[in-house]
């Protein structure tokens, strides 16, 4: 693993030059933030509040350390915050209904020898899991759409907000397809061992569609996709508002 790490750092610096250093710093801060989150939750802090605070830190680092244009960074940060909040609002009732917290029968072997009365709220942790899962996708999507739209607006400052929405969707189409691919392929990566195991313990279709882990994976993928979809209109709205303010100032 050390060799891999060294190889990664060398290649990163070769390809991205000095930019690589700030990338590494950003990744490092994010990793530390997540480890801090884990320790705080294990120590008994409220899961949702802690996750919300760490999520904001992560978004600040992920967006402001990667984006140089300050207008793009501000808009994508606002969008990401709103989307994360919306995701939270969607996730809470869905998970309450699905009750997919904790671990499934498939994990039984891993649990041997553990005290299961851990005192941590696993239903809340399940919500935190989906939020954290979405942070990377959401921040990348909002940055991509904002910078795409900003470039268009910069070239044609006279665009009406309706035209900006239209352009938002044409920029958003490609990003939506690629992000859906990323999410879908990650779904494949996590579920193929699961499906294999389900087959060996003779699950039928009914067992699979009601299975805790399978449903968790489907919900994660679906909720992240919803986040990506909603990013497009919210970004378009923020960009057109910014544009109106600018033209009003002139």
């Amino acid at each position: 693993m050390l060799y891999l790490l060294i190889a990664f750092v060398i290649l990163l610096l070769l390809v991205t030059g000095t930019r690589g250093l700030s990338l590494l710093l950003g990744l490092g801060i994010n990793v530390i933030a997540v480890i801090a989150l884990l320790i705080l939750i294990a120590d008994g802090f409220n899961v949702l509040i802690t996750t919300a605070i760490i999520a904001v830190i992560i978004l600040v680092v992920a967006i402001y350390m990667n984006v140089e244009n300050s207008s793009t960074a501000n808009i994508s940060f606002k969008t990401s915050l709103m989307i994360t909040f919306v995701i939270l609002l969607i996730t809470m009732p869905l998970l309450y209904w699905a009750s997919t917290q904790g671990m499934g029968v498939e994990d039984q072997e891993e649990l041997e020898g553990f005290s299961l009365a851990a005192g941590v709220s696993f239903p809340q942790l399940a919500i935190a899991t989906i939020i954290i899962n979405s942070l990377g996708v959401i921040s990348e999507t909002s940055v991509a759409i904002t910078s795409g739209l900003n470039e268009i607006v910069l070239n044609k400052p006279t665009l009406t907000s309706k035209e900006i929405y239209g352009d938002g969707f044409s920029v958003g189409n490609k990003i939506l397809s690629t992000q859906t691919n990323t999410l879908l392929f990650n779904f494949f990566a996590t579920t193929f061992p699961l499906f294999f195991l389900m087959n060996s313990i003779h699950f039928n279709f009914g067992d699979i569609i009601n299975d805790k882990i399978f449903v968790t994976e489907v919900l994660t993928t679906v909720i992240c996709t919803i986040g990506v979809i909603l990013t497009v209109p919210i970004t378009a709205w923020l960009v057109s508002r910014e544009n109106q303010k600018k033209s009003a100032a002139k």
């Binding site: 480890i35 009365a117 696993f122 193929f192 009601n210 909720i223 996709t225």
Partner: protein, 359 residues
């Protein structure tokens, strides 16, 4: 405008109907299903484990009626014990439907929750949202559909071959889904071919380099036996997971870089190969960080439950991370190497192919 509003309404209606049908589909299951109607708490006992974690063991009385089998309509009462933290057990709530089974004679126990309706509803939500906005739905839905079919065939072959063909099958499947994704998004054009070649080469180089490095370091520090669900062969499962998870990100990257270079060529027709390559690298530089972030958070989120279990069971942070995340982090590093290598590989291939193009 009117047809769009009609489409949205139709989509909402369809989703409601589909959700309702799955909610009331108990008759399709052989296993007895109970509709939970009333829940009351019988007792709550404080418990402290050997690691000084405080939790509550709660017994609840779950009352409801049978929804299927020949005893349909029969009232049932079951006592359910759960820990407040709900790691492996569950607190049941009214309106929920649960699978039950008979243990010794007439005594019922709850086995698991019926979750099919929520899956249908959540997927329906995405479809409604897509219909509310002006996205190219056809393209997106067909690409997801085709990929799911390919993945289903992959799973069937994997199961039939008892996992012996795992790695070759994964590689073949990855090549096919990459090609499908590119053809659907970019159309069957030279652009798609360019992105496809770049993806293929970058992924191959990154994986071979990483496997070589892992072999050199003797794999000793990585707990391959911790792969999910104990599926054998450990290393094959590990590599297959890397291939699937990095593929989407690398496709994203190659498409971004190559389409920017194509645009540049159309704006400045006499642009030199060297200049194209340089701007390819400059564009890629901006992409590397966010893309690694995506995979970083997915890896961490996936293992959150297990990490928490280790931490609350008195393990040190170092040991916990080593046991739970070392595998995920190794996968992440391989993916990250792939993401970085994609920048020069795509820039090289795209700059050569674009420059040669007559415009």
């Amino acid at each position: 405008m009117k047809t769009r509003r009609f489409q949205v309404l139709l989509a909402i209606l369809l989703v409601i109907v589909a959700t309702a049908v799955t909610y009331f589909d108990a008759f399709m299951y052989k296993q007895p299903i109970m509709q939970v109607e009333q829940v009351s708490q019988i007792s709550k006992t404080k418990s402290t484990d050997e690691y000084k974690n405080t939790d509550y063991s709660i017994v609840q009385k779950v009352q409801g009626k049978l929804l299927n089998t020949k005893d349909k309509g029969k009232k049932i009462t079951i006592n359910n014990t759960y820990y407040q933290s709900q790691l492996t057990d569950e607190k049941y709530k009214p309106l929920e439907q649960v699978f039950i089974s008979k243990s010794n004679g007439s005594h019922y126990i709850i086995q698991s929750t019926k979750r099919d309706a929520v899956v249908v509803f959540a997927i329906g939500l995405v479809i409604i949202l897509l219909f509310c906005m002006k996205f190219a739905r056809g393209k997106l839905l067909s690409s997801v559909g085709v990929n799911l079919i390919i993945f289903y065939i992959f799973m069937q072959i994997l199961i039939k071959s008892k996992n012996a063909l795992l790695v070759p099958m994964t590689i073949l499947t990855a090549v096919i889904i990459a090609a499908v994704a590119l053809i659907i998004i970019l159309g069957p054009s030279q652009d798609a071919l360019m992105a496809f070649l770049s993806t293929l080469i970058a992924t191959t180089v990154a994986l071979s380099l990483s496997v070589l490095l892992l072999k050199l370091s003797n794999d000793s520090s990585i707990h391959f036996e911790m792969t999910e669900y104990d599926l054998q062969p450990y290393f094959g499962v590990f590599i297959s997971q890397v291939i699937f998870s990095v593929l989407g990100v690398i496709l994203d990257e190659t498409m971004d870089i190559s389409s920017s270079l194509i645009e540049m060529k159309s704006e400045v027709p006499d642009v030199k190969v060297g200049a194209l390559f340089k701007s390819g690298i400059a564009i890629g530089r901006e992409l590397v960080g966010p893309l690694i972030n995506i995979l970083l958070f997915i890896v961490i989120a996936e293992n959150l439950n297990l990490v928490m279990l280790y931490l609350t069971n008195g393990n040190s942070v170092g040991y916990t991370l080593d046991m739970t995340l070392s595998l995920g982090v190794t996968q992440l590093l391989i993916s990250a190497i792939g993401i970085v290598l994609t920048v020069p590989v795509t820039s090289y291939i795209a700059s050569r192919m674009v420059a040669r193009r007559a415009s």
